[in-house]
Symmetry: C2
Subunit: 373 residues, 2 copies
């Protein structure tokens, strides 16, 4: 496969210096903040072709291409690049690691300049709105007054919705994928079990584990739970069924008998290599606090001119089509321009990362039609 | 509420003395075994009115009534008693704690007579068939050659199906509720995360924690995960929504902000008071090994005369109606007599414990019609 976008460089923007810092939704002022970000394509002369892509819980700024030889491509590689749905021959694509993350942006594992040590639990509680407000600083730093499109799946979709709710005049079009206006009780419940898994790990040490032993088992458990919710019953059956893992008969012990057990253990263990346990706590809490209906009430999306493409996947039971339909109803109540597609897929919530063909065609047509308009 | 069945006494049957013991499905011989059981109603003269009720993962032999003043009633109280669906004026109801359990029957927390210490991981791996083979000893001990009905939900339903598959001539009618012929990849996945939660708890100590510190956090986590799967998205929304727990605003810390978080923590913590972590490991593994299709192939249920009432609940996503429909198809392939009802309910998998009215009427009509026939 051609490495369409060549090697990608991560850039950094520092802002919100103390004492002012950035005013967080909690009321606290926080700074300094660094955002790690990547860009693809060229910003045109009138700065009207910028697309902001927003990542999900475990994502980062590396949305496409390769950072160096033999590294893995970005997390939405088939969607972003020259000639791809987010066509970098046409558009200037920006993707930043979220505030609270652990992939270059300021988060609980960052050094607190006051103490010279990682923040740990001294990091402030953040919200989806706080993430978006940091992205706004980045966008304005790049000289962009109006974003052509904001797009993202899962928690990325929450940021899309937050962008339009808070700064409708800055967003020309929006693509929230497999997401929701508010976290439901079941979504909160899964997050809470993941958090409890981390906080129950003695190595968590109330968040003060840096330079010591990571709460690896707790974080791996949280990720295992997550992975079950990202797949559908059908995709698990298709991928694993009841196949045994490297054996012909049941072991009659507590080793991994089934492939699905081995897969979950592997996914849990490998996640620990690349993710910070405290970031997992802060980010899931931000998702759980997310509730645009409570924040804006009946005024949510009132009078917006932003055009929407809302996408869901039929077998996604974590952010099911009914959540997307609520987004559509809320937009339509105010007469907003919205196209909604429920894409048939067996891949569950993961579909937004892997169902490229139909999703890609819908995104491309939507973006290009708006762009020509 | 009238305590219809008065105080119930738990009885015990000891059998499978070494060296013969009981031949387990793994090939190992194991004993001695004690089963704790309760009975309700009277066995008639020709011993033809016995109903065996089989409990789910966290159940026990105490299916109905009260063991003493102010104790909690049994786990299927509204279903079992005089004039109730399993009418103890007509039927002789038996319920025993499963092999591997921790509520009176022999399990990993029982004393190994060879060492004088609890078995822990020296307890053998068991299967649903092993549980049923123990129940068969109990039934025969009670002088019953043919059981009028076997009934149970969830893992209790697996035992129902195992009973008919293994001993069709002994079972006149069968009521498997909210269950499956084989554990799916997703069902295995949830169990595996629960087991990993327990085994990751340092207090687990490879199962050798008796008299020391229990792996309370791990077991509580496993139970929290379980509870999410027992409820539906809709019932969680109905019961908790996004209501905050004893506060007006977000705490902006990692305490339980939402009622659903508090509920899960409470359910997890209270489970630890009444359940053994090793039993949780052994029982979930038995469920994961359960696969009647692999065990019997095309001969499953061939030639049986047992009459079936198969029940599922519309919002049960752990053992969804499609699993029950597979049971029905398999029975119908051999021309078996089967009535199937998918009961509309928002309660998810928990519905088999709480949707009493419609389930009760269906059970009563089925039992009484067969009994008169």
């Amino acid at each position: 496969m051609e490495k369409n976008v060549g090697f990608v460089e991560t850039k950094y923007l520092a802002f919100a210096q103390p004492p002012e810092g950035l005013l967080l939704e909690s009321g606290q002022r926080f700074g300094p903040i660094t955002l790690a970000y990547e860009t693809y394509g060229q910003l045109n002369k009138n700065r009207s072709n910028a697309i902001l892509i927003l990542h999900a819980l475990s994502g980062d700024s590396h949305v496409s291409g390769y950072q160096k030889e033999e590294s893995k491509p970005g997390w939405w590689e088939p969607m972003v690049g020259p000639g791809k749905p987010f066509d970098t021959n046409l558009y200037f694509v920006i993707c930043s690691n979220i505030l609270g993350g652990c992939r270059g942006s300021t988060g609980p594992s960052s050094i607190n300049p006051v103490t010279g040590k990682p923040y740990g639990l001294d990091f402030p509680i953040i919200t989806i709105a706080d993430m978006v407000n940091c992205q706004k600083v980045l966008v304005e730093h790049l000289g962009i007054k109006k974003i052509y499109a904001v797009a993202g799946g899962s928690m990325g979709g929450m940021q899309v919705l937050q962008w339009v709710a808070a700064y409708p005049e800055m967003v020309q079009s929006a693509i929230p994928v497999a997401t929701t206006l508010r976290h439901s009780a079941q979504q909160i419940a899964f997050d809470e079990v993941g958090r409890q898994a981390i906080m129950s790990d003695p190595d968590w040490s109330r968040g003060d584990y840096y330079g010591k032993s990571m709460p690896a088992k707790g974080l791996a458990l949280a990720r295992m739970i997550g992975h079950i919710t990202y797949m559908s019953d059908a995709s698990m059956e298709e991928k694993f069924g009841r196949r045994l893992k490297g054996k012909e008969k049941y072991s009659f012990d507590f080793t991994a008998d089934f492939e699905v057990e081995g897969y979950l253990r592997y996914k849990g263990d490998s996640f620990v290599q690349r993710f910070d346990a405290n970031s997992y706590l802060y980010i899931t809490k931000a998702m759980d606090f997310f509730d645009l209906i409570a924040d804006y009430g009946r005024d949510l999306f009132r009078g917006i001119k932003t055009k929407f493409l809302v996408l869901s996947f039929s077998s996604d039971w974590l952010y099911p089509p009914s959540d997307s339909e609520q987004i559509v109803r809320t937009l339509k109540r105010h007469g907003a321009g919205v196209t909604y597609c429920a894409i048939p897929s067996d891949y569950g919530h993961d579909a937004f990362l892997v169902e490229i063909e139909e999703q890609g065609r819908l995104v491309k047509n939507f973006l290009d039609a708006q762009y020509r308009a």
